[in-house]
């Protein structure tokens, strides 16, 4: 694996970004994925889904995993969430090894996973209630995240009354209300139409600026990865390996207009190159 710092005209220091190593030393990496391997067998055949991946995600960083479909990027996220177990290797959050799912790793799924029998408010409240937080405190937190995600007017609606984009907004609010140490997002906008996806990306950028929560975001959409990410991990197709880590040299706050900027296009070209080779690799 190589770490690539794409050059931009202003110096990295000026833009407040560094190489992966200097970034890691500034804050102790919160999420460490060490030599993780995932194998499973289907119909007697052994499949290697993830082949020894190591990733360090420092605190308060927006990390994105991109790769072709079937590269095991979603599986990796499920491993971090504790919803599946690696065949070997370990995953550490802070100094604690991941052992089963927990509220310190909030997750937004690609499929709609709102609880249909609960209103928007009750959905966002779900995690707080499990923690037996007093009602008053709960209400305060829920209101804050409903406002942040622009859902205040819909707090009494049931999920079936909402559009796909709205449902994913509730899912984001629900995960954030729990104040997790890291937010895991598994192609959360993958099922949305492109206009809704753009507005959701804008919303996520704004919400992220306000919270600066560590995020691990999985997508196959390269534009989305560059627009959102501080660093991008490019994965190879099956067996999933880490091909390159790219630090995105685009300053924040980010906006949709930046997709035309030279830096943006440079990063995009780099990722496209990596993935193009990937398809060629696959052919023989």
């Amino acid at each position: 694996m190589s770490v690539v710092q794409l050059q931009r005209e202003t110096s990295p220091a000026e833009a407040g970004i560094g190489t992966a190593t200097s970034g890691a030393s500034a804050t102790e990496p919160r999420l460490r994925i060490k030599d993780v391997r995932l194998e499973y067998s289907t119909r007697g055949k052994n499949v290697v889904a993830i082949d020894n991946i190591s990733i360090d995600v420092p605190d308060n960083q927006f990390a994105v995993i991109v790769g072709p479909s079937g590269c095991g990027k979603s599986s990796l996220l499920y491993l971090v969430a504790g919803l599946a177990e690696p065949t070997s290797g370990e995953i550490l959050l802070g100094n604690e090894e991941v052992d089963g799912p927990g509220p310190d790793r909030g997750m937004v799924f690609q499929s709609y996973t709102l609880f249909p029998w609960l209103t928007v408010r009750e959905n966002v409240e779900f995690g707080l209630k499990r923690r037996r937080m007093p009602a008053k405190q709960r209400e305060e937190i829920v209101n804050r995240y409903l406002n942040e995600t622009g859902l205040a007017a819909f707090h009494d609606a049931y999920p079936k009354q909402l559009s796909g984009g709205m449902m994913q907004r509730v899912a984001i609010a629900r995960a954030l209300a729990n104040d997790p140490k890291i937010l895991l997002m598994d192609e959360p906008f993958g099922a949305l139409d492109s206009q809704t996806r753009n507005s959701m990306q804008k919303l996520l950028l704004r919400v992220w600026e306000e919270n600066r929560k560590t995020v691990l975001f999985v997508t196959h959409d390269i534009d989305e990865a560059i627009l959102l990410g501080d660093r991008i991990y490019v994965m190879t197709a099956r067996p999933g390996r880490l091909k390159e880590e790219i630090i995105v040299p685009i300053p924040r706050p980010r906006s949709m207009d930046m997709v035309m900027d030279a830096e943006f296009i440079a990063v995009k070209r780099r990722i496209l190159d990596l993935l193009k080779n990937e398809i060629k690799d696959d052919e023989h």
Partner: protein
């Protein structure tokens, strides 16, 4: 093409909507046709009234049995059996079915046995039940229980298996314990399916009730039917059938209302 589609077109197009007024008209027409044919056959003298009573004869039987209170008494007897049998069955089948659909161990333990019993016709057990518990109300309750319980178990297990695993996973990442997931995710998610299952099996319970009452009973709608057969009172048989149908319609409506009330989010 701004041409409006004709009503006939709408009627002949698969799955196409038609005006509500047309739907009600057609529904009414069906009933009128049935009653019309019935009237024609009886008043027209095509059928002997010893085999097919006229509508007025059935209405007459209704007033006769209603006035001396026997009808109410037998309706009450039937209702008691069906409700008690159905309640006992549901109270056990709902939690057990949920566990069966959720935990592989419970499934492995129960499924083979349940699937075996499920295919045994409950009628074949009636002689055994009479031998064991006599011909009292307990025997009829047992028939209802036996007829509905195993079906409910399998259907509710299916409902619980159908609950998306993503919902459970989402709850875990929000800090839910396994107990929380069972009580606060799986159960509410399965509730619409549970209510539907109860609604369907309630209809079956009515069928088993009549079977039980026909064979051995001293009260109930099946019993008066049987007694009427011996006395060639075809009008009473028809009355009993109509009452059972209406009671079925009534319980079905109750379940529909319960569903609207209990799980408004699923409608």
């Amino acid at each position: 093409m701004a041409r409006k589609r004709s009503l006939i077109d709408a009627c002949l197009t698969p799955k196409s909507e038609v005006p509500a007024s047309l739907r009600y008209a057609v529904s009414t027409l069906t009933w009128l046709a049935v009653i019309g044919l019935w009237s024609l056959a009886t008043y027209g003298g095509f059928m002997k009234d010893i085999f097919l009573p006229s509508p007025t004869a059935v209405i007459g039987a209704f007033f006769r049995l209603f006035e001396d209170g026997t009808l109410q008494q037998h309706i009450w007897a039937s209702l008691q059996v069906v409700v008690i049998g159905f309640l006992i069955s549901s109270l056990i089948a709902v939690p057990l079915g949920l566990l069966m659909g959720t935990f592989r161990v419970v499934q492995a333990g129960l499924e083979p046995l349940v699937n075996f019993i499920r295919y045994l016709p409950v009628t074949s057990f009636v002689p055994l039940f009479i031998l064991w518990i006599g011909i009292g109300i307990e025997q009829r309750i047992m028939v209802i229980f036996f007829g509905t319980f195993f079906q409910q178990l399998v259907m509710i297990a299916d409902v619980s298996r159908g609950v998306s695993k993503d919902l459970l996973n989402a709850s875990y990442t929000l800090g839910a314990s396994r107990r929380d997931a069972l009580l606060h995710v799986l159960t509410p998610a399965a509730l619409p399916g549970i209510v539907d299952t109860l609604r369907i099996t309630m209809g079956w319970a009515w069928t088993y009730l009549v079977v039980a009452e026909l064979v051995a009973a001293s009260s109930g709608l099946g019993y008066i039917s049987m007694k009427a057969m011996r006395g060639f009172q075809v009008d009473v048989i028809f009355l009993a059938i109509a009452v059972i149908g209406l009671l079925g319609l009534f319980t079905d409506t109750v379940f529909r209302l319960v569903r609207l009330r209990l799980v408004p989010w699923a409608n």
